[in-house]
Symmetry: C2
Subunit: 383 residues, 2 copies
Amino acid sequence: MVADSIINALRNTLGEGNFPLHEPRFAGNEQNYVQECIASTYVSSVGAYVDRFERELAAYTGARRAVAVVNGTAALQVALQLAGVQVNDEVIVPALTFVATANAVQYLGAVPHLADSEEATLGLDPRALRDWLKSVAEPTGDAYRNRQTGRRLRALVPMHTFGHPCDLEGLLAVAHDYRLPLIEDAAESLGSRYQSQHTGTCGLLGTLSFNGNKIITTGGGGAILTNDERLADHAKHLTTTAKLPHRWDYVHDEVGYNFRMPNLNAALGCAQLEQLPEFLASKRRLFERYQAALVEIDGVRLMQEPFGCESNYWLQTLVLSGAIADQRDGILQAINDAGLMTRPAWRLMHQLAPYQECPRAPLPVAESLAQRLINLPSSAGLA
Amino acid sequence: MVADSIINALRNTLGEGNFPLHEPRFAGNEQNYVQECIASTYVSSVGAYVDRFERELAAYTGARRAVAVVNGTAALQVALQLAGVQVNDEVIVPALTFVATANAVQYLGAVPHLADSEEATLGLDPRALRDWLKSVAEPTGDAYRNRQTGRRLRALVPMHTFGHPCDLEGLLAVAHDYRLPLIEDAAESLGSRYQSQHTGTCGLLGTLSFNGNKIITTGGGGAILTNDERLADHAKHLTTTAKLPHRWDYVHDEVGYNFRMPNLNAALGCAQLEQLPEFLASKRRLFERYQAALVEIDGVRLMQEPFGCESNYWLQTLVLSGAIADQRDGILQAINDAGLMTRPAWRLMHQLAPYQECPRAPLPVAESLAQRLINLPSSAGLA
């Protein structure tokens, strides 16, 4: 049975014991920095670690600026607002994504417009999207609108699934032709590069997540990346209650958010970022070991970084062939029962109650992939 | 000059040196708990410290349940949603408050409706509110609406200014008569009691903040309090992405939020909460010392807990007489220049660009108070 073969392959790679899907690794300066942070009393909304974390994120990703915030969802909400998304606009997002991508759109009173993914990247398919927009988008003034709903198409949000960069070149061309700012949801892809450019830095804005399950963690946290200084300044302003600088007066010039990352969490992040190269190397080794162990099993392949890309291999992913897709739940059951935590991809957005009425393109690939993906234990340090 | 008299009084109380308005105090188990948290690897969205912090907050406040979240603004946003606030509703809030109170209403697409405060509590004045509602509210089905705007009046949100409980008995009566759920913004009043009942537990829901400037801090954090188990369960669900429990499947049954408090921050909170009784005692001593030092100065009084209440004395507050209100900025300048950080109350909500068009009651007391309040250095440990 294929489940037994997979379990054997995982055991050969990981050894005995129980393995979570992904756990954080604190092998560096975490304790030191956090202790120093508490001793300084600057644990909250301002502090040296926040500034340092932002500087080091910008330097690492090559973005001109990084703005640290409270989580990846908040980062995406603010990035969309900065890109001009307003109430009743439509924002194109993948159907195959974590629910936060759609939620960030919804928080602004806008509507997710769901698009299909491609097998090679697990991300938005630019060819399918172009075909769809040809049929559904019509020009209106300086923008395009959805002729079926009458709503303005306002942004394009690809997400780099499990750390694999999607086809940014193709998507940027579609975005250009349909006058859509491109905002990368790079929550899962810190360390991943598209043709040597870090994900999250290829569009107008990009967003990162440092939730506990991500490649590095700040407990909870996220960041907005951009090469536009003006947008970065506005992001900082909006995420810090939109308060104007004054020695004592409290003037807020727009509706802002309490979205800053606390200095305590940034202290953890600075220590984690120092170890990122090591985490990336470990995850790549784990990919190679899983690959060697799984290569002989019929009907499964291990997801590999797309051509021309460098993936962070955040979550290792089995792709089942169509022939055994109907065995997925049995496989999940057996592997989880063996103490190896695995999980399927998310439910597609249009299969969730709050998003079932959203406009959507045909989703044949996303619907197929959703039945065929299994994430494997992937923590840094396993190999 | 009155500024010099105040500076002398502050120096007699505090001694030499520079004093911030309010800094956190980490004199307990902060380092231990945070180190233990990191060592456990559970720094993020679940963990023993979150559960413990919620249990201990409930026990301390007497609320049946407490739900820890990412900050006080998020707590209020979710509490308002749970109370039934919807797009285009109006929510009654004080004009004299921190902008987050109004922002939380705005995030839901609802509209802040500003009401006046009273001199005795610095909080909403139930008599003025009742008079205003008599003129502006008209019954419609099972609710009241603002006859001037046609919008439904959907909730009443008093805020306990600088930790002083407002007149909850009077406000609960108004809320009852106008069928408004009452949600307490208790961001500033952890440790404050109204007739022996902890603030935040007297209405349908209440919210706390643990920002770095509050009486205890988690870096960034907040909590929702309620005596209604069903609302508490829903609060937990909404603030944790509305994901249904399942071994591996990702089903979200409504639009949720990524608002959980990270375990790392809860670890800090558990240590802080242990010291709250001591912080409260220190702040009360500081009040008494300031009171003794300031009592001889004409034209100023120190804000004292309202009758029948126990204030946490979070921020000590000078109230200038009307006769010297026009000297406020000069007084602030002189005291700040002397190294003693002081600040005025917030700009009133209708004086901020995003809220200047909001419906509002006459605001004579709030407008007067806003010119006459000065917060003094107030950290725990100063006395």
